[in-house]
């Protein structure tokens, strides 16, 4: 009995190791294809790994690069966005996304933000969600320790110093906790979508007989507010809203 269990465990480990090495060989094959400028093959191989159910920023980034090379800007933007979604501190993906935006017909991501807002965004983006999770946990641990020490060791009058320290840490904790919540919300927000067809017309209602409101082109990023049959109500970055066909876009979700 014990032997069979051990054997089973061994097989399990072996198979998982094998799977890992297999994806790794596919990955390195894809990279050589990319280096030989065979972007189609590279894309096919990267997609193979993606279909394994692996969620990885670097992988998404590479797929985005492949799509960029074969001039599918919509998909390139989609994958760069995905990479950033997984790891918001992925600077390479951010740079490429910005560059890919210059190839789209519609101008987006207006950079004319205020200094404070851009500073906030920069800090916000440079912190990855897991890093935040660890920091929050560490601060929480420190606070709990401080409180415990105060409870056990200090009498009322002697508590001023630890009390002061605790307050500082509580503020820090709140700040990080709020950022974490925002980050987490952003991560799980799947309302954002990228237009993949070359152009789409936004109507005032779900149907082509409504008034035309706007025309957007491949690579445009917008939020989807609700669906109705084959139509979706979307909201553009500049506040414009309209109904477009559902099959023209893909949501940025993992």
């Amino acid at each position: 009995m014990k032997k069979s269990i051990l054997l089973l465990l061994f097989l399990l480990i072996l198979s998982s190791v094998y799977a890992v090495t297999q994806t790794e060989t596919i990955f390195s094959e894809a990279i050589t294809s990319y280096q030989e400028k065979d972007y189609q093959t590279a894309l096919k191989k990267f997609s193979l790994i993606e279909n394994e159910g692996i969620i990885n920023a670097d992988l998404y980034y590479n797929i985005g690069n492949c799509y960029f090379r074969i001039n599918e800007m919509g998909k390139a933007i989609l994958y760069f966005k995905k990479a950033i979604k997984v790891r918001s501190d992925h600077q390479a993906a951010r740079r490429n996304l910005k560059y890919a935006f210059t190839f789209t017909k519609d101008k987006q991501n207006s950079e004319n933000e205020s200094v404070i807002r851009s500073f906030w965004l920069k800090t916000f983006d440079s912190l990855s969600i897991n890093f935040l999770a660890i920091i929050t946990l560490a601060i929480f641990l420190i606070i709990v320790m401080l409180i415990s020490i105060m409870i056990i060791h200090y009498k009322n009058r002697e508590r001023t110093v630890p009390l002061f320290l605790t307050t500082i840490f509580i503020f820090l904790f709140l700040a990080f906790f709020i950022i974490s919540i925002l980050k987490w919300q952003e991560f799980h927000n799947d309302d954002e979508a990228v237009l993949l067809s070359t152009s789409a017309i936004g109507y005032s209602g779900p149907g082509e007989d409504f008034t035309r409101v706007f025309t957007i082109h491949e690579g445009m990023i917008f939020t989807v507010e609700r669906d109705e049959d084959n139509w979706s109500l979307i909201k553009l970055e500049n506040g414009l809203g309209g109904w477009i066909k559902k099959d023209t876009y893909v949501k940025i979700e993992l």
Binding site: I31, I55, Y61, N62, N65, R95, N96, A133, I134, S180
Partner: protein, 591 residues
């Protein structure tokens, strides 16, 4: 700039006059006359010291009779930079009467001035029947008033002078538009823009103010003004039309009476259009590295040094000069030499005032990067030679470079350095070494929150702990029990030091320590007698031997206290060991 040129030209003319330049010119007042008309033939001598010249003898001319002569002179003084120059114009006018009908020639006349001969230009005169002029010309031959259209075209016209009529594509031609007039012109204006279709145009000259020169044209003296001068580069082949210039000319009419101040009349004149034949550049056997240059060029090169050290830089200059489309052609390509770094060349194009000739200078800065002997090969330049109608290759001469070992630390000459500029942008390269693991989001994991709960548990635990502590702290016996060990330790320390010195006070210390310890442990009041302690200790679950031992110890101590000095060194030592052993046993017991 224009001003400087103006002053320079003035200086030049004055210089010419100083050198006693004499000009002789001849003209008539009209070339088409009737048999009953008269022709005024004028010889004009201009120079510095011509005032004393007497009327030249007029030779006999066939078919004309000399009716007499008159002379006049005018002086023109000018002061340039404090120097005064005078220019005297002496004109001799002969009145000639035609004798026959037909086309005649006034032959060139030779005039000798100061042992120098001057010959005038021959003039054609057409004599027809009757008279061409209703009224005889008024006093002067200029400032006439146009009275008929036929007359107008003779006395006011625009001519386009083209320097070449048969050119190749891209071969420049120059066109001069000149206004000839014998009227008193009060104002001039261009009537609309001229569109040079099929040409690349470069302006050479455009007048800024109205100013006339005197010039004879077909034997008649006119007031002449250069209206426009352009260089044209044909951009296609075929028969290309050179567009005509259109001018609005205001002519002042002569006053007839004292109260008539004269009126101005506007005339629109255009020159006759001309065409230029443009041949295409032959496409067959066109060299591959043809530079698109058309014209006639020369090439020269220059190098700043041929012996240098690693890290040094030198300049290599190629100059292409000549006539043609200097602005349009491609610069010759340099054959790159390994170990020499060529920086981007500095190209300057200097075009002469005539817009069709000039030079192009290509200046390379080259940095030597390795020692050795290198050859800077000859640079070929292929252009289409318009005079021969063939492609022509000219080249620079090759240079031998000797590069010696310089400072081993390669320091780029600061003049050769340049700020790195962006040459292009692209997406970043793919990530080749990535961990292919699905990244977990800690916030979504149970384990992460489990740690939070565990940490949070510290608070109730510490509260419980502190509560327990305060509860115990309120209990006196608990404190005494806790403190018992401390007291025992204190006394035993004292006792051990005393024992080491064989001091009999050791017994007192040992007894006090032991009794207080036991009292605390047994919750007896402090300072209870040894008997009390013994009796209460026997109630506890403590082995009988130990109780006997304690009893014995107390007795020994009592004895020692009343018999100071009665104990030997060995005895004290043995008793100390006994006390230690007993205490060890006691602390192990549970009370």
């Amino acid at each position: 700039m224009k001003k400087i040129i103006f002053i320079l030209s003035l200086l030049l003319t004055s210089q010419l006059l100083l050198s006693q330049e004499i000009e002789v010119e001849s003209y008539v007042d009209k070339t088409k006359i009737g048999i009953s008309d008269r022709v005024k033939y004028t010889i004009e001598i201009t120079g510095e010291k011509v005032g004393h010249i007497s009327t030249p003898k007029f030779p006999k001319i066939k078919n004309f009779r000399n009716l007499g002569s008159s002379s006049s002179s005018s002086s023109n003084y000018s002061i340039v930079q404090g120097k005064m120059t005078s220019k005297i114009t002496k004109s001799f006018t002969y009145t000639l009467r035609p004798l026959k009908i037909g086309n005649f020639l006034i032959p060139p006349i030779t005039i000798k001035i100061k042992n120098k001969s001057f010959t005038t230009e021959p003039i054609h005169i057409k004599v027809s029947e009757g008279t061409t002029q209703a009224t005889p010309p008024t006093s002067s031959s200029f400032a006439k008033q146009p009275n008929s259209t036929s007359n107008l075209s003779d006395n006011l016209f625009l001519i386009a002078k083209v320097n070449k009529n048969n050119v190749y594509e891209e071969e420049p031609i120059t066109v001069e538009y000149k206004l000839y007039s014998r009227y008193d012109i009060s104002n001039l204006a261009f009537a609309g823009d001229t569109n040079f279709e099929g040409f690349w145009k470069e302006d050479i000259y455009k007048p800024e103010s109205i100013s006339f020169d005197r010039e004879t044209y077909n034997g008649i003296m006119y007031n002449v003004m250069l209206m426009q001068s352009v260089a044209l580069f044909p951009t296609k082949s075929g028969k290309l039309k050179i567009p005509s210039l259109s001018l609005n000319v205001d002519i002042r009419t002569q006053s007839h009476s004292f109260f008539d101040f004269g009126t101005t009349k506007r005339y629109n004149i255009k020159n006759k259009p001309t065409t230029v034949k443009v041949k295409p550049i032959p496409q067959n056997n066109k060299p591959t590295s043809y530079s698109n240059a058309v014209g006639k060029f020369k090439i020269s090169s220059n190098i700043s040094q041929t012996q240098l050290n690693v890290g040094d830089s030198f300049t290599y200059t190629i100059t292409i000069s000549g006539t043609g489309n200097l602005k349009q052609f491609d610069i010759p390509k340099l054959k790159e030499v390994n170990n020499l770094r060529f920086l981007d060349p500095e190209i300057t194009t200097d075009i002469n005032k005539n817009k069709i000739s000039g030079k192009k200078t290509i200046k390379y800065l080259i940095i030597a990067q390795e020692k050795g002997n290198f050859t800077l090969s000859a640079v070929p330049f292929i252009f289409f030679d318009t005079s021969s109608g063939k492609y022509k290759t000219i080249q620079t001469k090759p240079y031998q470079l000797k590069i010696g070992e310089g400072d081993l630390t390669f320091v780029a000459n600061s003049a050769a350095q340049s700020i790195v500029s962006m040459e292009g942008s692209d997406i970043g390269f793919i990530i080749t070494a990535g961990e292919l693991k699905t990244k977990n989001i800690y916030y979504d994991k149970f384990f992460y929150w489990f740690i939070w709960i565990i940490i949070l548990l510290f608070i109730p635990l510490s509260i419980l702990y502190s509560k327990e502590k305060t509860k115990l702290e309120g209990n006196v016996d608990y404190i005494r029990q806790k403190q018992a060990n401390k007291i025992l330790k204190k006394y035993m320390k004292e006792a051990s030091t005393l024992a080491a010195h064989d001091d009999p006070d050791f017994y007192a210390a040992a007894q006090l320590g032991l009794s207080s310890y036991l009292a605390d442990k047994l919750k007896e009041p402090r300072g209870s007698s040894t008997d009390n302690i013994i009796s209460s200790i026997s109630l506890k679950n403590i082995p009988k031997e130990l109780i006997d031992k304690i009893k014995k110890l107390f007795e020994t101590c009592d004895q020692a206290r009343f018999m100071p000095g009665g104990f030997s060194k060995e005895r004290i030592e043995a008793d100390f060991q006994l006390v230690k052993g007993t205490i060890n046993e006691i602390t192990k017991c549970k009370f």
